[in-house]
């Protein structure tokens, strides 16, 4: 049997908002296989984003275990987790999260700055290749706030791909895009999955988008439920 690339075992995440205890993720178990296309569907405040950040190693679980390629991440140091985020995971956010003080080119290359050893490929060449492919070559020296939302999201995707990650985590990637650009971005992500054999986890509150995935997980009040609404 193939090993899941990510496995969540009875994971819970609890926050304190002042005195109030909030269970954002409650006893979730989940297996994500390599090259799988999974969508996590839930309404606002359902805990779906928290779940994604747990998968993305940005958040640690209060209870339960998270395994990445069979390894328990709760025992990993900050350096190790950062390194995994750097090389194994690519994030695509709803609000793009590009650094406005860096150019498009610099934004795409940024993850390489945090490599602990020198990249075994030409980062600049790969950046140019991705920008070219995403139709952003003539925008390489622009600052992100000078290009359109769709272009910004493509820059973010290029940044996510630069170090050949195994997993792309997309948090409402079309949320800030218009009805024409949104589907374009989705198609781009899906094409990349086929081409680079990456695993895709997409968080969304839109059923139509969730439907595009091979596998869907519905989240309500932090729990995995059988049916969405």
């Amino acid at each position: 049997m193939r090993q899941p690339i990510i496995e969540l075992s009875k994971v819970s995440k609890t926050y304190y908002l002042g005195e109030t205890k909030v269970k954002a993720v409650d006893n979730v178990s989940l297996k994500i296989m390599p090259n799988e296309y999974l969508s996590i569907l839930g309404s606002s405040g359902s805990g779906k984003s928290t779940l994604m950040y747990l998968i993305g190693l940005l958040e640690s679980a209060t209870f339960g275990k998270i395994y990445l390629n069979g390894q328990d991440i709760s025992r990993m140091s900050d350096d190790k987790l950062s390194s995994l985020r750097n090389q194994t995971i690519g994030f695509v956010f709803q609000s793009f999260n590009l650094l406005n003080k860096l150019t498009v080119l610099e934004n795409v290359m940024l993850p390489a700055a945090y490599l602990k050893s020198k990249a075994n490929f030409d980062v600049k060449a790969k950046t140019m290749d991705l920008l070219n492919r995403f139709g952003l070559k003539d925008r390489q020296n622009f600052y992100p706030n000078k290009i359109s939302g769709g272009q910004q999201q493509r820059v973010a995707i290029a940044r996510a791909l630069i170090l050949n990650p195994k997993i792309i985590l997309a948090d409402e990637p079309t949320g800030n895009l218009d009805s024409r650009t949104g589907p374009e971005i989705l198609k781009l992500i899906e094409d990349l999955r086929r081409e680079f054999k990456t695993t895709i986890v997409m968080v969304t509150h839109e059923k139509d988008i969730a439907k595009r995935a091979q596998k869907r997980v519905y989240i309500k009040d932090g729990r995995v439920v059988k049916k969405y609404l």
Binding site: Y53, L58, S82, S83, R85, N86, L110, P111, A113, R159
Partner: protein, 441 residues
């Protein structure tokens, strides 16, 4: 962290600063002013100390005196009144004489610490007189005994010209002991002393000023000092020492009138040709004076002792100046910390993004620390350059010196302050939970 990465961090920091120039300048301003004030204070303190040391070395030591009041007498030039007292431009080494100086009061009271009794000694000590002079002359090791009566700020007149000068009552050994040459005319003689004749030699500047830039014309002219009419018989070569250059050298006996009604001496300078005799001379001088005075009432010392005391005093003064200047450095550092804290809050989102794409806590820490370091280093550098420029200007009218040690200290302290005050905000940035940082709007 390797060298390339550090250079990259510095480049990134500089790029960041370029995008917020005004804030960068304002932030560095505190450090800049701090470094400026520390370096300037060191430069002035050091300059003054060296200036005084030089003065002592060329003047001879009994001039030591830190008198109350007008230290920076404009007429006398910087440090002019430090040398009040009298001893001419002594260059002992060239003369081969070794000079022992006798001062009123116990200047080097050990219990009072360095410099403790300066001033008090002179104010409260013995008033030497001719009896002491004659007694000291009997010491076999004393090849020279030069009494000093000094009265400064005396108006010297020639016709309509008026200048402030210093009356210096002394004897015929003074030129030889203190090695000053008579440029024109001659110095008074023993018989002038015996006859209390009103013949004087003028310092070069005084002669030059009173006689319309032709000091040689002063000879045989009659000048007025207070109520006394005095005949100029000589002009002393220019020494570059305001005390001597403004001096009116007069037989000490002649001062025993309206100029010196109490018939006192301020000090004595004793010289011995053989260096080996210095200790014996000191001992003998002390023994002689102890017959009339208490130990507390006079000081027998050498140039080197006074010099080292003055150096000690100035080391302390400089330390205090630096401490005061350092306050502004610390304030500058706090300014940097304040701005860095604000920057961390403002850039929380950036921290979150960087963490998401793989930056470790250390990467973030170094990023902010480098910015603080570069800010304070640049501020320090600018402060240093400004201080250098100011010192170059100030040097024209006040002794000031920048030395390498001060420069290195200023730069390393300002960088150190950057690191010290940068660590806290940088650490806060590093410890931001990535998830909260990235959600921060």
């Amino acid at each position: 962290m390797n060298q390339n990465k550090f250079i990259q961090l510095i480049t990134n920091a500089l790029t960041d600063f370029k995008k917020s120039k005004v804030r960068t300048i304002l932030t560095s301003l505190g450090i800049m002013i701090g470094v400026l004030s520390v370096v300037l204070l060191i430069a002035l303190g050091l300059g003054l100390k060296n200036y005084l040391s030089d003065q002592f070395e060329s003047l001879g030591a009994n001039i030591v005196i830190i008198l109350p009041g007008n230290v920076f007498n404009k007429e006398a030039g910087p440090g002019g009144n430090f040398g009040r007292g009298f001893a001419g431009g002594a260059q002992f080494e060239s003369l081969g004489a070794n000079i022992v100086i006798i001062l009123p009061g116990n200047v080097f009271n050990k219990e009072a610490g360095p410099g403790g009794n300066f001033g008090r000694g002179f104010a409260g000590g013995a008033h030497f007189d001719e009896k002491d002079y004659l007694a000291l002359k009997k010491i076999p090791e004393a090849d020279y005994v030069v009494p000093g009566f000094t009265k400064s700020g005396v108006t010297i007149e020639y016709r309509k010209a008026k200048r402030l000068g210093t009356i210096m009552g002394t004897n015929t050994q003074a030129p030889k002991l203190f090695n000053f040459k008579i440029e024109s005319g001659k110095f008074f003689t023993e018989s002038d002393i015996d006859r209390r004749s009103k013949k004087v030699a003028l310092g070069w500047d005084l002669a030059n000023n009173l006689f319309a830039d032709r000091p040689e014309t002063a000879l045989n002219k009659t000048i007025k000092a207070g109520d006394e009419r005095l005949q100029v018989i000589g002009v002393i070569e220019k020494r570059g020492d305001p005390e001597i250059d403004q001096g009116v050298f007069i037989p000490y006996t002649t001062t025993f009138g309206s100029l010196n009604p109490d018939k006192t001496f301020f000090n004595f300078a004793l010289g011995t040709i053989d260096k080996e005799n210095v200790e014996a001379l000191k001992t003998a001088a002390k023994a002689t004076l102890l017959k009339r005075y208490d130990d507390e009432d006079f000081t027998v010392t050498e140039q080197t002792e006074i010099l080292s005391t003055v150096n000690q005093v100035f080391t302390i003064v400089n330390a205090i100046l630096v401490a005061i200047g350092s306050i502004s450095l610390i304030v500058g550092g706090i300014g940097i910390m304040n701005i860095m804290y604000a920057a961390v809050t403002e850039r929380t989102k950036e921290v979150g993004i960087r963490r998401a794409i793989g930056a470790t806590q250390k990467d973030i820490l170094w990023q902010f620390l480098t910015e603080a370091l570069v800010l304070s280093f640049l501020g320090g550098l600018v402060g240093l350059l400004l201080a250098g420029a100011i010192v170059l200007i100030v040097r024209n009218f006040f002794p000031a010196e920048i030395n390498l040690v001060a420069v290195l200290i200023a730069l390393s302290v300002s960088s150190g302050i950057g690191i010290f005050f940068g660590v806290f905000p940088a650490n806060r940035a590093a410890k931001l939970p990535p998830i909260e940082a990235i959600r921060y709007e």
